[in-house]
């Protein structure tokens, strides 16, 4: 039971971070379908830090270095989305999809190159971080506390305060609702959209590194992040683009994702004799059902997905 709680919380943290990232980007008016790819690149940044930093440094240094590594790479990567969608008014769906494919391909090529350079016989795309991972964990009895749970809560507070209580957040949201109106009162729409995209890069990058630190101590980059970026988008839609509701939605989805990891720990679930594949597909099935019921009365930002054109009325 404790294990289920632990996995639920850690997966919910991932979903919360990434969904908040999507939330910032969409409120500014840019649909970020590339979250999945940004997660992979963020995970790569953190994993590289863990690989090259010796495991003997103090946990605080390790945690900060890993967070920095993933944020820097993820933000750099999300500029690709910004350049294409804000500057060149490209199709946001297409560019997002391209970022997802590019993220996995680039990470795989890069990690394989590093591994092969270190050992010519090693052609895997795996990075190990058994030692470094310990910095993030604190054992409280049988419960494994992960610092990312704190990071996720901080992100939630940051999102809530900055979106609803600051001038910046309100302006950001105006650009997603009616950019022409925002522009007419002197808000720089392009700047605000850049801010939205870059903040979503920060949060998605954190989510990515958090995801590969949940449960395992090595990651095969060929696998990407298994649709988590899209699950996060489902969480965001279920949460109706509002940070607090997103947090609740993330907990629900985290629970179903956790079940597929630990279902064999429950006697009554094992006795049902359901194949593992069913548990694996559960989060996706649930999100489809949830989306079917919540998308009708969508409170999506009105101007999301439409490139801003000053000349349009």
């Amino acid at each position: 039971m404790l294990l289920l709680l632990q996995y639920t919380l850690i997966f919910a943290s991932v979903l919360l971070l990434v969904a908040l990232g999507g939330c910032f980007s969409e409120h500014s008016g840019v649909i970020n379908l590339g979250l999945e790819g940004i997660m992979v690149i963020g995970a790569l940044g953190g994993a590289l830090v863990m690989r090259y930093l010796s495991a003997t440094v103090s946990p605080v240094v390790m945690i900060l270095a890993v967070l920095c590594g993933s944020v820097v790479l993820a933000v750099a990567y999300s500029t690709l989305l910004g350049v294409a969608c804000i500057k060149f008014r490209a199709d946001q769906t297409l560019v997002g999809t391209a970022l997802n494919l590019l993220g996995v391909a680039a990470a795989t090529v890069f990690v394989k190159a590093i591994n092969t350079a270190a050992d010519p016989n090693d052609v895997s795309s795996t990075i190990q971080y058994v030692g470094a991972k310990k910095a993030f964990l604190i054992n409280v009895g049988n419960f494994e506390f992960n610092w990312f749970m704190v990071v996720a809560i901080l992100a939630l507070v940051f999102a809530y305060v900055s979106l609803y209580k600051t001038r910046f957040g309100l302006r950001l949201m105006a650009c997603g609702e009616h950019p022409q109106a925002a522009d007419s009162v002197g808000i720089n729409v392009h700047k605000m959209r850049w801010a939205g995209v870059l903040i979503s890069g920060v949060l998605a990058g954190l989510g990515g590194i958090c995801y590969i630190l949940a449960g395992v101590s090595e990651w095969k980059f060929e696998n990407g992040v298994a649709g988590f970026g899209f699950l996060a988008l489902a969480v965001m839609i279920f949460g109706q683009w509002k940070p607090t509701r997103i947090a609740l939605a993330a907990l629900l989805f985290g629970l179903f994702r956790a079940l597929s990891n630990v279902y064999f720990g429950f006697d009554f679930l094992v006795s049902l004799n359901i194949p593992g594949s069913i548990y694996n597909m559960m989060p996706y099935v649930i999100s489809l059902i949830v989306l079917a019921f919540t998308s009708k009365k969508s409170r999506a930002p009105k101007a999301e997905g439409i490139p801003y054109d000053k000349g349009q009325r």
Binding site: R89, L102, A113, T116, Y284, A292
Partner: protein, 377 residues
């Protein structure tokens, strides 16, 4: 020259070629970063594919293998293209492809069906799978990209579960059709003889090309196609004009699903590939279809060539020097190409405005020349 550049088709062609050149160039830069020594050789290997071998019969064999895999890619690309014309981004093509693979392999191996029923079954299952996305979009307003991705994963796990019943006892792969269900292999009608008796060249290749032409005719020459494009351009206007926009959305995704699933049938029923029941990610064919569709300028005929090209560089990944680079370098290049396709609109408007500007200049020059002449007289 300028008249030629004004043509939409010409602009698309230029934009696509630019994407390819830039994609290869950026890929080359990445290779330089990884290992400067072998970068030129590796990028040449990717560009050459079957020409990397010198023996003529091996060249023909490799070329034929690439062709055999281009057919399913073309079907996936058509699926994405068809939906895109209606304003839908069918990223679920990857899942519909999985559904088709599962249907044709299962019906062949478990039920012993022959090739045509297997293929039709795959098409039906794919259409149904696409219909889920369509129904959710039309009646529940669910974003087709997100529901498509969810269905991709659901399809993957379902296929793994079902096909585990027909796998080889010692490996995670499904039984070879030539051992378990030879009746389900697509007929070749002697086409393989043209390619040094390649057993993977079947009716799949010509069938895929014919279907590309059929799709073009449907989209451009029929009332149904006109309605679909109208729905894509402006959903509300189409509804106002009395077109059943909900029905059109569902039908489109059903056709998209059928096309992608047929693609799977065209590959798995040649016995070229077996399904791996421990697969942890969706086959990349559906995603590469996005690259092919956009690189082909969203034109069915252009897509035929683009599909071949994407498959050409994807297969060529096997020829790069493995001591320095991994074969995924070709995935990287096709991903870069998809990204660059986002700039196609920008390239086209740049060409158009460039033409407009030079025309304007000429007109002004003529006007001023005439004004001078007027002055003399």
């Amino acid at each position: 020259m300028r008249d030629l550049l004004k043509k939409q088709g010409m602009q698309s062609l230029i934009a696509s070629l630019l994407c390819i050149v830039l994609g290869l160039l950026l890929g080359y830069i990445v290779l330089l970063f990884i290992n400067p020594g072998g970068a030129s050789q590796a990028i040449l290997a990717v560009a050459k594919n079957f020409l990397n071998t010198t023996r003529a019969n091996l060249q023909v064999k490799n070329f034929a293998n690439t062709l055999a895999k281009s057919a399913p890619l073309l079907m996936c690309a058509l699926s994405i293209l068809f939906a895109y014309k209606v304003g839908l981004f069918n990223i679920g093509a990857a899942g519909q492809y999985v559904a088709g693979a599962c249907a044709c392999l299962y019906s062949a191996l478990a039920w012993g069906w022959s090739w045509l029923p297997c293929m039709l079954f795959a098409i039906a299952v794919g259409a149904l799978y696409g219909a889920i996305v369509g129904l959710l979009k039309a009646y529940c307003n669910v974003n087709e990209v997100i529901s498509g991705i969810m269905l991709n994963w659901i399809g993957l796990y379902t296929a793994n579960m079902l096909l585990a019943n027909v796998k080889e006892s010692t490996s995670p792969y499904t039984v070879h059709l030539k051992d378990g269900a030879p009746q389900a292999i697509l007929p070749s009608l002697g086409l393989g003889k043209l390619f040094e008796n390649n057993q993977y060249i079947t009716i799949a290749v010509p069938l895929a090309i014919v279907l590309a032409i059929v799709i073009m005719v449907i989209l451009n020459k029929t009332r149904f196609g006109y309605e679909l494009r109208a729905t894509g351009n402006n959903k509300n206007a189409a509804k106002y004009a009395g077109m059943a926009e909900k029905r059109n959305i569902i039908l489109t995704l059903m056709i998209g699903g059928a096309l992608a699933a047929l693609g799977a049938s065209l590959l798995y029923q040649t016995d070229y590939m077996q399904w791996e029941v421990t697969a942890s990610s969706v086959p990349s064919m559906g995603f590469n279809g996005i690259a092919a569709a956009f690189l082909g300028g969203l034109n069915p005929i252009g897509t035929i060539f683009a599909s071949y090209f994407i498959q050409h560089i994807t297969d060529a990944g096997a020829f790069v020097d493995k001591t320095m680079y991994s074969s995924q370098i070709s995935d990287l290049i096709s991903a870069i190409i998809i990204y660059l396709c986002g700039f196609v609109l920008f390239i086209k408007t740049t060409i158009s405005s460039g033409i407009a500007r030079s025309e304007e200049r000429e007109r002004r020059r003529k006007a001023s020349a005439e004004a001078e002449k007027g002055g003399e007289a």
